[in-house]
């Protein structure tokens, strides 16, 4: 089982400043699996995701991507990353096409863009429904459209694994539906997904497994159970502290590292 994991985080600990943010978590995403990472603000879910791609150095434990230790991992074109952002804009105007093109750099590196590369960029823009706006400046877009641009940028390298940090934050309903549809196509094509979510929302039907973090520890790792029990609500395995006040109090106690897998 371990060999087929696209992401494998074991006994991971991390510190931000002097505060321990990850206190020993295990997290694996198998090939073709869609895993949602849930938890309250400050539970460590963003840090967990950022440690997977090397943005946050681990103080203990290990990360592997496609079975290769992170330090030796070089095939970044296989990974599409959507960072937590409210905007795709920088200090200088840029078009949607220019921003999405930078997602292709994991394949072209220091070289030039070939016809195949350009076609992949156009395809990624079309996937998020922005084809007719490719020449528009990203600064003219709505919050949801910004998020679609960031996802197109991640898709431009035609990745096998998508890592998304709160892709639905600040996204209007119309864009949420488009993002869900885009993701559905990717999953159908066999792409594995790890995403941080605040609530399951319209992505719920796509998700194979949820992992809930609390205070830097995994408190739940298993199938989405809330869908049947509480349609339209947050999963009942989230405690009050984890999520909303009306969630049912059926939480497991925090499980230290190594006991879950």
């Amino acid at each position: 089982m371990h060999n087929d994991a696209v992401i494998s985080l074991s006994a991971a600990t991390a510190v931000l400043g002097s505060r321990p943010v990850l206190r020993g978590i295990d997290l694996a995403v198998q090939r073709g699996e869609v895993v949602a990472l849930l938890g309250a603000n400050g539970s460590g879910k963003s840090t967990a995701v950022r440690s997977v791609i090397g943005q946050v150095p681990l103080t203990g434990g290990s990360v592997e991507l496609f079975g290769t230790p992170l330090k030796r991992f070089k095939q970044w074109a296989r990974v599409g990353y959507v960072p937590q952002r409210t905007t795709a804009a920088g200090g200088v105007p840029a078009t949607i096409r220019e921003v999405v093109s930078s997602g292709r750099l994991s394949r072209t590196r220091l070289g030039l863009m070939s016809k195949t590369d350009k076609a992949a960029v156009e395809k990624a823009i079309a996937l998020v429904g922005l084809a007719d706006r490719a020449k528009d400046s990203v600064s003219a877009l709505s919050g949801g459209q910004h998020q679609r641009v960031l996802i197109a940028r991640a898709l431009a390298s035609e990745p096998e694994l998508l890592i998304m940090d709160e892709p639905m934050a600040g996204v209007d309903l119309a864009s949420q539906e488009i993002l869900a549809a885009t993701l559905r196509e990717q999953v159908a094509a066999g792409v594995s997904v790890l995403l941080v979510l605040h609530e399951l929302g319209p992505l719920e039907p796509l998700i194979d497994r949820t992992v809930v973090l609390r205070d830097g520890l995994v408190t739940y790792d298993g199938p989405v159970t809330a869908g049947e029990a509480l349609p339209g609500h947050d999963p009942h395995h989230l405690t009050k502290e984890d999520c909303h006040p009306h969630a049912a109090p059926a939480a497991a106690s925090p499980v230290p590292t190594g006991l879950l897998t």
């Binding site: 930078s102 750099l105 539906e177």
Partner: protein
């Protein structure tokens, strides 16, 4: 009049230097603006003063000593940005003012140096641009152009979203250092024309002017370089004709272009907003209907 200007040897050198500054300063400046580090050029300019002072003290060409010291300063600034845990601004302030004070001190220690010499580096002085300076400027400018155009896609990505760029596997730290070094080189290219105190203006103002009317990075880049070239040439000629300081003239011209383009941009933006609005509405609805 033009033949008159072109027949003077020092004006030929001045115009070559001016064009190269007009091209290189906005070409690297656009990445600094994109990273929201518009004032980095100013900091490097201050540090370069120590290099100028060192050149006088060692009685060698101040362009080369300024280049070395500016590069060292830019690299230190980049390192502070990486490792600076708290109060990075204080560390940078030390570097800036230390560089400026060092320059003033060294030039006064030098046998041939005086504050008058320093002044020509602070505010630019076309009439004193030597053949040796022009050679140095051409070489340095070639480096800046090669980097800013040759690696534009990579530098764009790193300056747009550093975290994302790292996940594409780009050598982000090396590229950041390259931007810092290129900015330092540009400062010394521009120092004889606009002067160290105004060099940052030529990195930032043409870019700010260009982005008033452009929607893409490529167009902003081309337009900024065009604005930079036009104002440096016009400023140089004006400086010769009316005996005004070149640096100040060039910078004020650039600001005038900025104001003009800003005024032009308002009706343009309104028209685009109208066009974009109808297009945006179509777009928001159509894909949902198609896919969901």
């Amino acid at each position: 009049m033009l033949t008159d200007i072109l027949s003077t040897a020092f004006m030929q050198r001045a115009l070559i230097a001016a064009v190269l500054v007009g091209i290189t300063a906005p070409a690297i400046g656009i990445y600094l603006v994109q990273r929201r580090q518009s004032l980095m050029g100013d900091g490097i300019g201050h540090v370069a003063m120590t290099g100028v002072g060192l050149g006088f003290l060692m009685q060698t060409s101040p362009v080369w000593t300024a280049t070395v010291v500016a590069i060292a300063g830019a690299v230190i600034m980049e390192l502070i940005r990486w490792y600076g845990k708290t109060r990075g601004d204080i560390a940078l302030a030390m570097l800036f003012y230390g560089g400026m004070a060092g320059g003033v001190l060294l030039i006064n220690l030098a046998p041939t140096g005086s504050n008058a010499n320093l002044s020509s580096y602070l505010f630019g002085s076309l009439s004193t641009v030597s053949q040796e300076d022009v050679t140095a400027i051409v070489l340095l400018a070639a480096f800046v152009v090669a980097v800013t155009i040759g690696l534009r896609r990579q530098l764009f990505a790193v300056s747009q979203d550093e975290e994302f760029a790292r996940v594409t596997g780009l050598p982000v730290r090396a590229l950041n250092l390259l931007v810092a070094v290129t900015a330092a080189v540009t400062v010394t290219v521009a120092m004889r024309v606009v002067g160290l105190l105004l060099v940052s203006a030529l990195m930032v103002v043409p870019v700010a002017a260009a982005q008033q009317i452009s929607r893409s990075f490529t167009v902003t880049f081309v337009l900024a370089v065009a604005v930079g070239t036009v104002v440096t040439l016009a400023g140089t000629v004006a400086s010769y004709q009316y005996d005004v300081p070149p640096g100040a003239t060039i910078v004020l011209l650039a600001i005038a272009v900025f104001v003009a383009l800003t005024l032009l941009a308002t009706p343009l933006a309104r028209r685009r907003a109208r066009a974009g609005h109808s297009k945006g509405q179509d777009n928001a609805v159509a894909p949902v209907a198609a896919k969901v």
